[in-house]
Each structure stands twice: as C-alpha cells, then as structure tokens.
Amino acid sequence: MLHIVNKSATERGSLESCLAMATKGSAVLLIEDAVYAVTNGSTAAAKIQAAAADLKIYALGPDLAARGMSGRVLDGVNVVDYGGFVDLVAEHNSCQSWL
C-alpha cells in the first residue's frame, strides 16, 4: 500500500498517524509541505529514520526544490519526480492520502 502525506509534521499529526498505521513494507510518499519532514535537522527526522527500517520513504523532488530543501534530504529517503509519483501509485494495489 502507498501512503501519501501532504502536511508539515510540525503543523499536523498526519505523518505520525500514517507511520503508526503503515504496515511493514509499505511505501510512504511525502508531498507538498510534508517534505520538510525528510530534511536534516527537522524535528521529524528521527521518526523518519526510525520508520525507514520497515517502510520505504519517498519525497517529491519538485516540492523539495520549491521549498529550498533539495540539498538537505536525509540519507535513505528516495527522491522522486511526478513520474515516480505516478509509478508508485501504479505499483501499489491501493493508496491512502492522509489529509
């Protein structure tokens, strides 16, 4: 299953709720303001790194770039473009947007 999170982890609890309910081996794609969570020094970084042991973590590159965060992405996070976003949706049987 693909989980999509779009809100900043310092503003909303959606990333935390998502990580609590994503089963082992699922993919989590961070888009829009959620991409701040996968940058060095963010308060969510430790949570992302811990989650990366069981989950595949992706972040949308154009959203990172638009926020000046391209150079600060945590190790172990896969940066994808919109094509990669489409592929993730196609590869997984279902997706859930944590609005």
Partner: protein, 131 residues
C-alpha cells in the same frame, strides 16, 4: 433523496471501500460531506467500512446540540447507518484514550481496534478515502 435509492454501475463488481474519518465535526465540512459519500457508496452495494481515528472520533460523541451554532446536527445520521447496511464501524483505541473517550461516550456501537489491527484492516482495502 432519490440518489440514496439502490444504485448500480452495471459492472457487478464489489470492492472494499474504507472511509477514514480523521477530522472533528463542525470546524470543517469534511465530516458532513464525507457522510454523504458513505451513504451513496452503500447504495451501490459495496463493502463499506467506516473508520474513526484521531479527531475523527469526536464525530461520534453523544449529546450534541448544534442549535447555538445554527448548523445541522448530522450526528443522528451515524445512528441511521444501520438502515443503509453500513455495520462496520471501527474506532482507534489510542485516539479514544488520547481524548478521554470510552465507548459509552459514543452515539453508536463500534468495534475498537488497536493501531496494528487498524493497519491490517486498511491494508486489505481496495479503496481508501479519507475525509
């Protein structure tokens, strides 16, 4: 509402639809408009589950009085879900605990699940729509 009558897309396909409610009522419209989708989905004879997590558990609280804010009280609709054959209502234990709520506080009978059980339920769905 005529839209609530039996509907059929002609495909004969039955999918597992989960409606994940994570938001409190009234502050935003999502709970109310989300309920409308749930009722229509049931009219298509699909396999519907409703899940309440995070602030979504507040949607089910008893003793609501909306007269003072002059909006519709749609909490009674949750009690009518039975009539639409929507019987799978789940709430998240942790979300209830974090808000000081127990099953006694809720307007309908629900099944309380742990985060792990909820995760497995979600993973087996065909469609998950979150409001």
């Amino acid at each position: 509402m005529s839209e609530m009558d039996e509907m059929d897309d002609g495909s004969g396909i039955v999918k597992k639809f989960m409606f994940l409610n994570r938001k409190a009522p009234h502050g935003t419209v999502y709970a109310l408009e989300g309920l409308e989708v749930v009722l229509i989905t049931a009219a298509f004879d699909q396999d519907v589950s409703m899940v309440f997590t995070d602030d979504g558990v507040y949607q089910l609280v008893k003793g609501v009085d909306t007269k003072g804010i002059e909006v519709k009280d749609f909490s009674k609709t949750y009690r009518a879900l039975d009539g639409y054959d929507i019987e799978k209502l789940y709430v998240d234990q942790k979300s209830m605990d974090a808000r000081g709520l127990t099953e006694e506080d809720l307007i309908v009978d629900v099944t309380v699940l742990s985060a792990g059980e909820m995760a497995n339920l979600m993973a087996e769905q065909d469609i998950v729509i979150s409001f």
